[in-house]
């Protein structure tokens, strides 16, 4: 699954490598679910539609062995992509990459990016609010923010997420990332890297009146 994705380049909407693999696994799993569902439904339908007695054969050892072995083979087939994804998600364990501090407030996010710090020469937090008025044609209505989180592309990202008041959740679905923000707790979420572009997310834990109006905007740039 990993190599297939690299060769086929099935990335829609600028997805992450990790999220792309998650989507592939999900599609694969769903096909299996459809097959099982179709098979069971057809059996049930045949019992309803066709007349006949179904109580002749009340014990069949061979049948029981078969319907134990075949599902276990299906599950064995699911082991490989599942474990691969599990280990990929732990692939980046610090050392080099970009450290981003995210603090959730009611009802905005504040970021501290070392990319900005290296330019400004001081550790500055900046707040990111939803833009409600003066939207240009082509902007996204509830996603545009005034100061997005600026990030380096093609570099591992480490999001250290906390909150200053209530529980929020920092979600970037394109990266397959959702990190809860608790007051008094520092959670870390790791992403393997993104390509250049804009990524959006929304607060994913109910946090009051404007919970739906505190989006996350992330811009990935390269340094040249």
């Amino acid at each position: 699954i990993v190599s297939y994705l690299v060769l086929g380049n099935y990335f829609f909407n600028g997805l992450n490598f990790f999220m792309g693999n998650l989507i592939m696994f999900h599609d694969f799993l769903l096909i299996i679910c459809y097959f099982v569902l179709f098979f069971i439904l057809s059996l049930m339908l045949s019992m309803v539609v066709f007349s006949g007695s179904y109580f002749n054969n009340l014990g069949n050892v061979v049948l029981e062995v078969v319907w134990t072995v075949i599902p276990s083979l299906i599950l064995l087939g699911l082991v490989e992509p599942s474990l691969t994804l599990l280990y990929i998600s732990e692939a980046f364990s610090f050392n080099n990459g970009q450290v981003l501090k995210v603090v959730g407030h009611q009802w905005y996010w504040s970021y501290n990016s070392d990319l900005i710090n290296s330019v400004v020469q001081d550790s500055t937090d900046y707040d990111s609010y939803l833009i409600t008025s003066d939207l240009v044609s082509g902007d996204f209505r509830l996603l545009e923010v005034d100061l997005p989180l600026v990030v380096l592309a093609n570099v591992p990202l480490y999001f250290f997420v906390s909150s200053s008041d209530v529980i929020h959740s920092f979600a970037l679905p394109s990266l397959g990332l959702k990190v809860d923000a608790f007051p008094g707790r520092l959670n870390v979420g790791v992403s393997g890297g993104v390509s250049v572009g804009c990524y959006w997310g929304q607060c994913s834990e109910i946090c009051g009146a404007n919970h739906a109006f505190m989006p996350i905007g992330m811009e990935a740039l390269i340094y040249f």
């Binding site: 692939a91 080099n96 990459g97 501090k101 591992p156």
Partner: protein, 108 residues
Amino acid sequence: MPLYGHRFFMQHDFEAPVDTASTKLGSTADPITGKLTAPPYDPRFPNMNKTRMCWQNFVDYHRCVNKFGEEHKPCAWFQWVYKKICPNEWHERWQERVDDDAFAGRLK
């Protein structure tokens, strides 16, 4: 002093770049300075909750400074780590308390 503190500044001198031009996956160095950009994996804090890692590095920095003086360079490793990962509100608030002798941690 922490038990494992010496291992960090023996392996990763925060002044020197670790992997400037490495092509290994996940080890791209900071293109601006070419130095170590993220704190290395600390096995004392393996899980997702890094609250204690932030607190421990802050405390270790002050213990190091109290024991060896502010000019002792390895102490700056702990400061680098806590400034990297701690939210500013936290370490600024703790620093105020340290300055007022009101910090709830053993710094001597």
